[in-house]
């Protein structure tokens, strides 16, 4: 591609759950951060030269104190914020160079779960979960089938007709997760998904993410809850004062692999 040329449309080389298999793409990291800088104020940078690679099918915790840039990192990924400098490559495509018209196509490959669920409270569970498929133009029969599958995976089988506003916090988060996975995304981003839940529910929700990860989806799980990081050893990215420490085998076995990006 010519330098400076705009990427017209986002077309992933490989999607989790899809039958197509591209052997070249399969060996590329799904996500690359290359010297990424981001600051909202010039005197307080959020990310200072973040560089890391995330392989296909990895589960990575992103942690750090409030304001350390966990949410910013995720927002850069789905192009809600532009990077100041550096590159973010998702499936080989540079996110920062996508045209405005291509951003929706990027997002169709990413499932996102938020702390505040971001559900439409007066809609039914089915309507909320079906939204990504409606956007893709999937017919109603297939939509019902896939929404049913997604609800079954999150433990809400048969509750599609209930109004979301009447559900508990934990159930609402399950609905949000079902919505994030119903489109079979290649990457699942979770921005403090357990922040509004009690500790037991938080562990349950983490378990759900692990089940989804087991089906081959790459998961980035941002949390400041240290107890969740100890449930199972996973790669942890610790953000603090604009710097990132990449701990490849979990906090307990950190020392040999720890490096600062």
């Amino acid at each position: 591609m010519e330098p400076g040329a705009k990427v017209r449309a986002f077309r992933p080389a490989l999607r989790a759950g899809a039958n197509r298999f591209d052997p070249v793409a399969a060996h590329r990291p799904v996500l690359v951060f290359d010297d990424v800088h981001k600051a909202y104020r010039a005197d307080a940078p959020v990310l200072k030269g973040l560089s890391l690679e995330i392989q296909r099918g990895e589960f990575v915790f992103i942690t750090g104190p409030s304001g350390s840039g966990k949410s910013t990192l995720l927002r850069l990924l789905y192009a809600a914020e532009p990077v100041d400098s550096g590159r973010i490559l998702f499936m080989g495509r540079e996110v920062g160079r996508l045209s405005r018209a291509s951003v929706p196509f990027l997002r169709r490959n990413i499932g996102i779960v938020f702390q505040d669920f971001k559900l439409v409270p007066n809609w039914s569970v089915l309507e909320n979960v079906a939204l990504p498929l409606e956007v893709l133009g999937v017919n109603s029969r297939l939509t019902r089938q896939r929404v049913g599958d997604a609800l079954e995976r999150v433990g809400l089988d048969g509750r599609g007709s209930e109004v979301v506003g009447a559900l508990s916090g934990g159930e609402q988060q399950r609905v949000a997760i079902a919505r994030a996975i119903v489109g079979e995304p290649a990457l699942l981003l979770a921005d403090e998904p357990t922040g509004n839940l009690d500790p037991q529910l938080a562990v349950d929700i983490l378990g759900l993410f692990e089940d989804i990860h087991a089906s081959g989806v790459t998961v980035l799980f941002a949390t400041h809850d240290r107890s969740l990081l100890d449930v199972r050893p996973r790669r942890v990215l610790v953000l603090d004062e604009g710097r990132a420490s990449d701990i490849l085998k979990g906090l307990d076995e950190a020392a040999p692999d720890r490096h600062v990006a």
Binding site: F105, L106, R107, N122, L131, V135
Partner: protein, 290 residues
Amino acid sequence: MTPVERAWRGGRNDWRLHVLSVFSVAVAFVCLASALLVVVNVDAVRERWAQTGRASVYLKAAATPEQVSVLEKALRASEGVTDVRQVSADQARRELGGLVNEETLLSALPVEAFPASLEVMLRDDLAVARLEKLAAQLAQLPAVESVETYQAWSERLAALLAGGVTAAGILALVVFAAVISVVSSTIRLSLQRRRVEVEVLKLVGATDSYVRRPFVLEGAAQGASGAFLAIALLGVLYAIVHSRFDQRLALLIGSGPSFLPWHVALAIVVLGALLGALAAHTSIRKLLVL
């Protein structure tokens, strides 16, 4: 789910807001439609007078019956003349008395107010130039006092109509601004209430046009419904006025009142829809950034 279904789903929850908006748009369109109604009726009168197909040749009091007879024959032989009728001074007084039914008022008028005349019926397609030439020739004759072709009335009505059209145009601009303002505010408010829906749509990969479509449809529906309601309200008002309209006045001006032609009414509704869609499109554009 089609954009119409999505618009219905969104509008269903905010129906009170939409009803208020439709009513506000209707009030604005009533003003425009009323102005158009006046213009349409003045235009009808002007058309009627322009194609009235008659001229009055007023005779001098000293005109002899032979002169009048010769003049009548000459007129009958002229191109474009279909009929000629003699009206004596008494007959003219009686005819006006039958229209206004005010004997005391008529009796106060001098005798010269009702000159004898020849009422000349002309073909509707007679060229104005030909009529003017004929009137000029008639005015030269010794028995003729004056010739009235009613062109001056037609011209005055045309001037009145031009003023009415200008006023309607200015009113239309005001209405445009009002409709755009009302629909934009409603759509913005609706968008604020459905902010989470829009945000989620953007996050799951909806394009701007996908998000915008139901809002534009809602705007178009509001504009069209408001315009339709305005036409309906004006129709009711017209029906009330029409039932009390003096038929003798209609006889005098040569034309009774008429409601807006169906194509004008349809154009107003379409205009409402277009303005509503435009307002929604522009108001939502600024709020789609995520």
